[in-house]
């Protein structure tokens, strides 16, 4: 059908299928700025267009409905100045992180300003209410709107929206545009799905309807004969290597306990078969035609079920250790029908008891500590499973090319993807190239290899280009979730609040497979206990297999739940002792110069060592929050009749990469015009890492950012990097880039010394890109040109490699002020302040965006986000209607981020990590504030109205994660 309409001001005629969603039609016609985040549920708003003057979701418009219509997409920026101004304002306000939602946000603001030239906050909220963003926390969008309005009146208008640091430096500590932001804001081809060739084949999974079952028989014959079907993978014809999907450094602290397809399915949604067909529809039809006969087994649906004597065994394969250690004291002989379980080294697991891993250790004498206490309390805290929900789901495009396998991936760990996929397929690593495209949100979930193995294998074995994208439902249940945890805290203290003993017992639910099974729960301990100075501490960690979806990495990596338990328990202790909660924290917290003994027991997979802390900004941060919240005065009254007001405060910490374990590398090339090419191994997943590394190089080599291009995360082109996890980006990848720049600088100085005939000690590299001697000077451009000529000294290239044993802790103090309705259990966050010591903020406005985003996520986790299962283990809230994430309306009225930088001695220009830590504060701070408001302790998150009413005694029925 031929239709005519106006697209971005131009009359258009397209031959279309009228019954296709407009979203699909636009993308098929090369308009890739419309994105798909919810598969047509109509909730995410990322496919938005302006149709006849109003913003609508193009997934809910059929193409036949736009005949004669006026349609605008963000691509209108090419001819529309207002859109360009909005895009620039979004960039200058640091609103562009992963960029997946940015075109939709741009259109929403454009549409708003068309009808209202002076919108207030309510109007902005309304305009952006239909657009989900998981990265930014929305707060900086308000600035972007205001900046746009001012620039529409005065195009040259400039405003310093955010603080800057390090006045002596040109780039570091200054607010600069994110290097990839303009491409994102203008809706260019950046993400994996934007690079898929028209001749690509499609993968559809057949997934298990049972939580625990053997596949007795699988018949693919009918499906294989269906139109378009190329092949079908099952446990009968897939590679037989066991592996872990955890994208961790080798040898991984996660058991190799899964096959590409297993004869046994271990959760509802587990892989049964993968169909490769010409179209997605053909693959779906064929998947539905596969006949499977199951032997259904009783499932394990909770940590308590897993521990019961005689519980069903989730993994009953033969157990062995790859490092040659002989497993002792555990059952190792298993059911031959199940794949073997291979630990790279002992994680103290006992799989046949459903124990995937365990650890216990401590310092001092815990019994003596409790015996010396005047008060002992013991409390248990529960954190249910939540999903990170990146708006771009897991997606991969794999194709064979010139005898090699090329994988375009949306991943945080390109090198680990290469290693794992090569091993699974049986290829040497040189045959595999991973190209990390822009990532539409990762948050940890894309540290796991959940689609690349299948797509890579199918592409390699069939010789076809293969596209595989998770549906939103699959993203909810088969990517990776935060671990469910139950944490018991036992604290002993003197009457004056001095802690004498701290005991932490943690049970975690790793789900059907053991990726990150020890490291996530251990991080709950290692990022919460070291905040306290106490001579007697002990922890015990057990990680259990269940038949629920696999858990894994998610921003904070266990720390949010550890912080919830430790900080809330401290507040409960303060109440019993009759001590102000902040005074109790002050009395026992880590401080500058403190020796943190517990780190002796908390090495990251190897023996730890106590650390003597340098400077620590906690005192100043607590002081600022205390003042801002008038902590020592009575709380202000509630703003609504019948509601009650309360305040809470916590201190939190994280790390900056994995000292002693991980490494990063970078290379900087001086090109013949004096510009620079930075090859960084780092994987920017929207956090701005490429901008950070570019700034570090620009600062060191005294050039403008515009003179640098960053190529990152391509295993063929860029050097090795551990990947983006464990808050390592700035610290590891940043330091590698810095070292490469310093290396290049030294090489330039040496080369210039010969040309200028002056000793290196007399030379300085000064802005703009000039080496200045006492008698002469030479620009980097000229130096580069000469160096590659016949009389030169070879191309000037700097190399940097970074590893460290130094642990750099970012710290923060979070304060919340809320009101709660005792009759309904509803909670409203009025104020949330995050005071943060991330060392030198390399790019302060982007760093603030990281904090806003993390805090709002954590507010969602604390108040309403929760994965719910039915009694058979099936996840029942697999979409954004049933699993709620915060919208712009959930932003606290007073949402404030403030940096209190304390330089780290090893970090680049004093920088430390910034993003992950900020998810650790909301749950305990809100729990404490709820107690202040309502007098109840909420020890299970999320603190839904229902749980609050239960705690108040208003209703009796316990709300369960398994319904």
């Amino acid at each position: 059908m031929i239709i005519s309409f106006t697209l971005n001001g131009n009359p258009i005629e397209w031959d279309i299928d009228p019954g296709k969603p407009l979203l699909e039609t636009l993308r098929n016609h090369g308009i890739v700025s419309v994105r798909n985040g919810c598969d047509g549920e109509g909730v995410c708003g990322l496919c938005a267009v302006i149709l006849n003057g109003r913003q609508v979701n193009s997934c809910q418009v059929l193409t036949g409905q736009i005949a004669g219509a006026d349609l605008i997409t963000v691509d209108f920026y090419r001819t529309n100045e207002t859109i360009r101004i909005i895009q620039k304002a979004l960039i200058d306000s640091a609103c562009v992180q992963c960029g997946y939602c940015t075109p939709a946000v741009t259109l929403a603001i454009f549409n708003l300003l068309q009808r209202n030239q002076n919108p207030d906050k309510q109007a902005i909220n309304d305009a952006l209410s239909g657009t989900l963003c998981r990265c930014t926390g929305y707060q900086q969008f308000y600035n972007a709107v205001q900046l746009t309005i001012k620039r529409l009146q005065d195009p040259a208008y400039h405003e310093s929206l955010y603080p800057e640091f390090k006045p002596e430096l040109r780039h570091v500590g200054k607010n600069r545009a994110k290097v990839d932001a303009l491409m994102m804001a203008t809706g260019q081809r950046l993400y994996v799905e934007d690079f898929v060739d028209p001749d690509a084949y499609h993968v559809v999974l057949l997934e298990s309807p049972h939580a625990h079952a053997f596949i007795k028989k699988i018949d693919t014959s009918q499906a294989l004969a269906m139109p378009g079907v190329v092949t079908i993978l099952t446990h009968e014809n897939c590679p037989q290597h066991t592996y872990t999907t955890a994208g961790q450094g080798y040898p991984e602290p996660s058991p190799y306990d899964q096959l590409m397809f297993s004869r046994k399915v271990r959760y509802v949604g587990d892989r049964v078969a993968a169909v490769l067909a010409r179209t997605r529809e053909q693959a779906e039809a064929a998947a539905a035609a596969i006949v499977v006969e199951y032997e259904v087994l009783p499932p394990v649906l909770s940590i308590r079920d897993a521990q019961k004597p005689g519980a069903p065994i989730v993994h009953h394969g033969t157990v062995s250790y790859a490092d040659g250690t002989k497993p002792e004291g555990i059952s190792t002989e298993g059911d031959p029908r199940e794949e073997p379980i291979v630990y790279q080294f002992t994680l103290h697991g006992d799989p046949h008891r459903n124990l995937a891993a365990s650890a216990c250790d401590g310092i001092g004498d815990i019994d003596k500590g409790f015996s010396e206490a005047d008060v002992v309390i013991e409390r248990t805290y529960i954190g249910n499973r939540v999903q990170s929900t990146p708006l771009e789901p897991h997606v991969v495009y794999a194709k064979p090319e010139k005898g090699r396998l090329i994988i375009h991936a949306s991943t945080q760990v390109p090198w680990h993807v290469r290693r794992i996929v090569a091993r699974v397929i049986g290829l040497p690593e040189h045959k595999v190239r991973i190209i990390k495209e822009r990532v539409g949100g990762g948050f940890g979930a894309k540290q796991d290899i959940v689609v690349e193995d299948i797509a890579g294998y199918l592409a390699w074995t069939t010789g076809l280009p293969v596209f595989f994208r998770y549906t939103r439902k699959q993203e909810f249940r088969s990517s990776r979730t935060r671990h469910g945890m139950e944490i018991t805290m036992k604290l002993g203290a003197k009457k004056d609040g001095t802690l004498t003993a701290v005991y932490m017992k943690l049970d975690a639910d790793t789900g059907a497979y053991g990726q990150h099974c020890l490291t996530v729960p251990m991080n709950a301990v290692s990022k919460s206990l070291p905040l306290i100075i106490c001579d007697n501490m002990r922890f015990e960690v057990n990680s259990w297999y269940t038949n629920l979806p696999p858990a894994g990495a998610y921003q904070g990596y266990g720390a949010p739940k550890g912080s919830f338990a430790v900080q809330t328990a401290l507040a409960e202790l303060a109440e019993i002792l009759g001590i102000n909660q902040l005074d109790l924290i002050e009395k026992n917290r880590v401080h500058s110069g403190a020796r943190i003994e517990i780190l002796r027991s908390l090495g990251e997979g190897r023996p730890g060592a106590p650390v003597t802390l340098g400077e620590c900004g906690l005192g100043e941060m607590i002081s600022r929050g205390r003042k801002a919240f008038a902590w020592d005065a009575p709380p202000p009254p509630a703003t609504t009749l019948g509601w009650r007001r309360g305040r809470g405060a916590v201190i939190i910490q994280q790390g900056s990469g994995l000292p002693g374990l991980d490494a990063a590398n970078a290379e900087v090339r001086l090109l013949s015009d004096g510009s620079l090419l930075l090859l960084s191994g780092g994987a920017d997943l929207g956090t701005g890492l490429d901008t950070v590394t570019a700034k570090l190089v620009a600062e060191t080599l005294a050039v403008d950012l515009e003179h640098i291009s960053v190529v990152s995360g391509d295993t063929d082109i860029t050097p090795f990097d551990k990947g983006a996890y464990a808050s390592s980006g700035t610290y590891f990848s940043g330091n590698a880039a810095l070292k490469a720049a310093e290396d290049l600088k030294n090489k330039c100085l040496a080369a210039a010394s010969i040309l200028l005939q002056e000793p290196v000690s007399q030379l300085k590299l000064v802005y703009p890109g000039t080496i200045q001697g006492k008698t002469g000077a030479i620009t980097l451009a000229k130096l580069a040109h000469i160096s590659v000529q016949g009389e030169g000294h070879a191309e000037l290239v700097g190399f940097g490699s970074f590893k460290t044993d130094h642990a750099a802790f970012p710290y923060a103090a979070h304060f919340v002020d809320l009101e709660a309705n005792p009759d309904t259990g509803e909670v409203r966050i009025l104020r949330y302040h995050a005071y943060q010591d991330c060392g030198t903020p390399i790019n302060p406005d982007l760093a603030m965006g990281q904090v806003y985003g993390a805090v709002l996520k954590a507010i969602g986790h604390s108040l309403y986000e929760e994965l719910l299962f039915d009694t058979k283990g099936a996840l029942i809230n697999t979409n954004f209607l049933d699993y709620k994430i915060p919208t712009i309306y959930e932003v606290p009225e007073d949402f404030h981020v403030e940096f209190v930088p304390v330089d780290d001695e090893i970090g680049p220009f004093g920088g430390k990590s910034v993003s992950e830590i900020s998810v650790n504060g909301a749950a305990p701070a809100i729990a404490i504030a709820l107690h202040d408001a309502l007098g109840i302790w909420c020890r299970e998150w999320p603190f839904t109205p229902e749980r609050i009413l239960k705690q108040l005694g208003t209703i009796q029925t316990p709300h369960k994660a398994v319904l």
Binding site: P18, G19, K20, P21, L23, E24, N36, D39, G40, E41, G42, V43, G45, A48, R54, Q55, V56, N57, C59, Q60, V61, L62, G64, Q65, A108, D126, A127, S129, G130, T131, R280, E281, E284, T471, R472, K473, D823, T824, Y864, L868, I876, N877, T878, L881, D882, K884, I885, P886, T887, Y889, E890, T944, P945, E946, L949, T954, I955, T957, H959, L963
Partner: protein
């Protein structure tokens, strides 16, 4: 995402009426926020697109309000509709959806969380539909939907005390519970002609005369706990991902009590 194999786009209402009379099972498409909101791949064989032919207008008269069924939520919000309509309309998800969702679609979908049905039921709404020469009471039509909705006629609520309350988990969530009330306040400050509609306790939003009778003729209720205690035993919910039955029954009674106590006389 929904794909339609055969999208029928009639040129006139007569053509559409004829088509639907012969093909009553074929779903109709106006704004698409219900029919096309489907996160799983779904192929519909045939759909009748009425989006361009159903009337779009709002006529607020002295005693009556008439709304064209093709009017979107956002258009109605921007009109001079009475405040109680605004309150209900704002519970529709978010602006993107309100820009597309139509009044007729909200009635046709007849979901328990419907934003407008409670208000229309309170205001004795009648529908002009292609299948009838006379106006059809909304309640009758909801039990036996036929034809294409063209117009909604309802009483102007001026002078009535009305309220619309709801409960949802986040600002842009579907309402788990809706409670709408309308009554006249007598010279003795009593509730008369009380009507109550509840959503979230059955497949569709429903008038609840059983609950209304508890308060008919009594002074305007002011003791929330007492109201809740009387109402809660009459509510029967199911446990699902939005909460346990007990919780929903409690919160339904709470929201209805709030609606009764804080109803405002419509200007």
């Amino acid at each position: 995402m929904v794909t339609v194999k055969n999208l029928i786009q009639p040129a006139s209402l007569d053509e559409a009426a004829l088509y639907t009379a012969h093909n009553p099972q074929v779903p109709m498409l106006a704004g698409g926020t219900f029919l096309l909101a489907h996160p799983e791949p779904l192929i519909l064989e045939t759909v009748l697109d009425i989006s361009r032919i159903v009337p779009k207008f709002i006529d607020v008269k002295e005693s009556e309000i008439i709304i064209g069924s093709g009017t979107t939520f956002q258009e109605l919000l921007e009109s001079n509709a009475p405040p109680i309509f605004i309150k209900a309309l704002l519970t529709m998800s978010n602006r993107n959806i309100r820009n597309r969702a139509t009044v007729g679609g909200n009635i046709g979908a007849n979901k328990s969380c419907a934003s407008l049905i409670p208000i229309f039921l309170l205001l004795d709404a009648k529908l002009k539909v292609t299948s009838s020469k006379t106006l059809v009471p909304l309640q009758t039509w909801l039990h036996n939907p036929q034809g294409i909705i063209l117009e909604v006629h309802c009483n102007n609520p001026r002078g009535l005390a009305m309220n619309f309350t709801f409960f949802r988990r986040t600002s842009c969530d579907l309402s788990s519970i809706t409670a709408a009330v309308a009554y006249k306040i007598s010279s003795t400050r009593s509730c008369t002609e009380l009507r109550i509609v509840l959503g979230g306790f059955s497949k569709h939003a429903e008038l609840r005369p059983d609950i209304a009778s508890l308060f008919e003729g009594t002074p305007v209720p002011s003791d929330k706990q007492a109201i809740r205690t009387r109402i809660q035993p009459l509510l029967h919910a199911i446990t699902d991902q939005r909460g346990s039955a007990e919780y929903k029954e409690y919160i339904g009674a709470e929201k209805l009590a709030e609606a009764l106590m804080s109803a405002e006389v419509q200007p």
